[in-house]
């Protein structure tokens, strides 16, 4: 049976400026998917980029995953060939209350 793990990287934080989630180790996983939810009608404009890292300290945008916009109440996208760490980097104007899930399978 395959291993799976869902991590709640942000649980409903208010974001009003650029941010990045905490580093999360995913070397064991063969596939991953982010889900980002907008909570409680916060209207801020949100753009999200997938970032990867060789060491959990230095980060670069994943070259095979385009940036996504959070237009409705939830956006999701798959991630592949990501190496050992994943995080989401966000650009926010206005206020956005976000819940961010990372679902991994090995």
């Amino acid at each position: 049976m395959r291993h799976t793990q869902t991590a709640v990287l942000e649980r409903g934080e208010d974001f009003s400026s650029d941010f990045a989630t905490e580093p999360y180790e995913v070397a064991w996983a063969g596939e991953a998917r982010f889900f980002v939810q907008r909570l409680e009608d916060t209207a801020g404009d949100v753009e999200l980029r997938t970032q990867i890292s060789p060491d959990g300290i230095t980060w670069v945008d994943a070259e095979n995953t385009p940036a996504v916009r959070l237009d409705g109440t939830m956006v999701t996208w798959p991630v592949r060939e990501f190496g050992g760490w994943l995080r989401v980097s966000g650009t926010v104007s206005g206020l956005a209350r976000l819940r961010i899930y990372l679902v991994c399978k090995g």
Binding site: H3, Q5, A7, V8, L9, R11, G12, E22, P23, Y24, E25, A27, W28, P54, D55, G56, I57, T58, G84
Partner: protein, 319 residues
């Protein structure tokens, strides 16, 4: 002990010794859980405070809403790549945010089918995150100067804690707690094992207006003065820099019949904990009968991420 009992004991130990996964442990007669993180998280999950009837997570106490999800870590570092675990590649990692006072907590939830001795064993290591930069000031922290051997990273690690949450006998609830306080809150090396002299604040106390704790409050015991040492300073094997992993053996024995600590073993040191107090909640608790939870936490006292790595955990009982 009769000859037949001796033979049974010897046979059991021989069977344990024949299994490389178990021979590194010294379990009580019944193994409740053997968590080898090479094969998943085995029920060790993030702790969170309680939420209301609408699932509104903004009703969760501030100091218990961000304990961070455990990670399956390959123990990979910027200088040498993948270190790996004691066996295999993966360990369970608890990681704080890089904010002084932040705590990460992994919890495992069981119940009790009997009362008596309960033992938790683990192989663990603890690390601060490496700092990469060009600032000469990074060669000094908390009174530790980089001299080629000693590394300031060691003083950037705050504390690691192993604890239980137990309830029985009609709602009598208590925690047994052992914390390795590597540094004081002002980052001076302390290296003593400490215990809290008060019970942990609960969500109901907040709802009832009896307590309101800030985001970075120490959830186990918020007042630093409530933490009392029960050991002399005990140097562990941080191994100088933040990227070398040396696994330490920990064995912790409690007695749920007597509601007491018994002893704590760290490598070759055994600390008698029989006289270490166990604070009991004054009120009775509903919804928790036969509760047997275990948690590990890691708390940073610096603006550097702190990590607690567990290679594996074994929980055993004498019932």
């Amino acid at each position: 002990m009769s000859t037949s009992q001796t033979s049974a004991t010897d046979l059991r130990r021989a069977l344990l010794d024949a299994d490389p996964r178990l021979s590194r442990f010294n379990p009580l007669p019944r193994i409740l859980a053997h968590d080898d993180f090479q094969t998943g998280t085995h029920g060790w999950t993030e702790l969170i405070g309680n939420f209301d009837g609408n699932g509104n997570l903004r009703t969760v106490d501030d100091h218990m809403r961000d304990f961070r999800p455990p990670q399956l870590s390959s123990c990979t570092f910027f200088d040498t790549g993948t270190h790996g675990a004691l066996s295999g590649t993966y360990a369970l990692k608890l990681a704080t945010r890089p904010i002084a006072g932040h705590t990460a907590v992994g919890i495992r939830r069981l119940t009790m089918a009997g009362k008596g001795l309960v033992q938790l064993e683990t192989y663990f290591t603890y690390k601060s995150e490496a700092t990469l930069g060009q600032d000469p000031a990074n060669n000094s922290f908390g009174g530790v100067e980089w001299d080629g051997n000693l590394h300031p990273s060691e003083a950037q690690f705050g504390a690691l804690t192993v604890a239980t949450d137990v309830c029985g006998d009609g709602g009598t609830r208590y925690h047994t707690v052992a914390r390795y306080r590597n540094t004081t809150l002002d980052n001076a090396l302390d290296r003593r094992w400490v215990y809290p002299a008060v019970p942990e604040p609960t969500p109901r106390e907040h709802v009832q207006g009896k307590a309101s704790l800030a985001y970075l409050a120490d959830f186990t015991a918020p007042d630093p003065d409530d933490w009392k040492p029960f050991s002399d300073p005990m140097e562990l094997c941080y191994n100088e820099v933040p990227t070398k992993v040396n696994w330490h053996y920990l064995r912790w024995l409690i007695d749920t019949d007597a509601r007491k600590n018994v002893e704590l073993q760290i490598n070759d040191r055994v600390i008698d904990m029989r006289d270490v107090p166990v604070p009991v909640y004054e009120e009775k608790y509903e919804s928790l009968e036969t509760l047997l939870n275990f948690y590990f936490s890691v708390r940073t006292h610096s603006n550097v991420r702190n990590f607690l790595f567990l290679d594996s955990v074994l929980i055993s009982v004498d019932w």
